[in-house]
Amino acid sequence: MLNVTKHTAALAYVIVVVLAVIANAQSKPAAGQIPRTADGKPDFSGFWDNPKEPGSRGPATTFNKEKMAPFVPGGEALFYEPRTGDPRHDEPRAFCMPSGFPSAFLGPYPVQIIQTPQYLVMQTEFMNVTRIIPLDGRPHKTDIEPTFYGEPVGHWDGDTLVIEGRNYKRWSLDDYYYQNPKEYRMHTEALRTTERLRRADADTISYEFTVDDPKIFTKPWSVQWEMKRHAEWAKTGLYEMVCNENNRCEGGKCRDSK
């Protein structure tokens, strides 16, 4: 009888310990398993594949029409600005003009992120474009010329890094692989972008991208992407890509090879 009691007590103890371990594991936040910086923020540093839709084997994010908000009156004409037949207008990137944001960061090229307490730096191999994003939530400037890559400012919302972009020049609003050149898509200077980055796990950044261009769309719309970690790319780092080095068929006119 005593033995039975002893066994029961031992069994109960084991069960309690096991349950405690399970409970502890479950109460441990998933976010606790991601790398963190010394100041406790999620650490986005590393080499990442370009943003893609979750599970996609494709190259790039796509701004699918069905995910966009309806157009305001006149918005469609601004979005699909008619092509003129002049390649400098119709595809300025073929002349090594900047892709702008977000287009430059959506092609099938690695992105390196370097994070400090003050800044997040996103560098894409594609055309060596760098975004230096202050993380102090400072107000956007009101007196600067709009630019191809805009003015990104970050702040933390818990474990989510929120990057608000303003001051964009009117330019391409493309996923990298727009299929129909007659439907080249553009945004206006009213564009505001919001990126919400979260480390979903050790190898994944969950990346929500919101487009708000009130001159084109009736309301903001968002797409959900992922960026996957590629630790092996650290061995070589990013390669150099220089558009003007040998852009032989610039704008559709090929240079003689001789």
Partner: protein, 132 residues
């Protein structure tokens, strides 16, 4: 001896993925309605950004030789896949398939390169980067 042709992908602009890796719209420079397939000998390789170029002497039935230029992937992208500048050499016999330049010149995207001797240096697939 039976020579087996190995179809090897240079890593861009092939088949269903005509916009692959171009630094702008493929259709700004190439015409997907004008497929090109030539057999010839590599005369020059320019392993440079933003796309590598290689040139091929093509002899027609009358013996007239035309030099064609073909664009490939960016050097960095190829290098990351283990494809070095030595992959294509002057004097190599190749079959190249692609799409002709819009300006009607003897230039094209060089989406698919096939060597006569079965070498497989260009087998790095680009399917994982194909558009949806």
């Amino acid at each position: 001896m039976r020579i087996r042709l190995a179809a090897l992908t240079l890593g861009l602009l092939a088949g269903t993925a005509p916009f692959l890796l171009a630094h702008h719209s493929f259709s700004a420079e190439y015409d997907s309605n004008q497929p090109v397939k030539v057999t010839g000998v590599v005369t020059k390789v320019e392993w440079q950004n933003p796309h590598i170029w290689f040139f091929v002497d093509v002899k027609d039935a009358q013996g007239k030789v035309t030099n064609w230029g073909f664009s490939g992937g960016p050097p960095g992208v190829l290098q990351r896949r283990g494809i070095s500048r030595d992959a294509l050499k002057t004097g190599d016999s190749v079959v190249v398939e692609g799409f002709r330049a819009r300006d009607g010149s003897n230039n094209a995207s060089g989406g698919k390169v096939t060597f006569a001797d079965g070498r497989s240096v260009f087998t790095a697939s680009n399917e994982d980067r194909a558009p949806q």
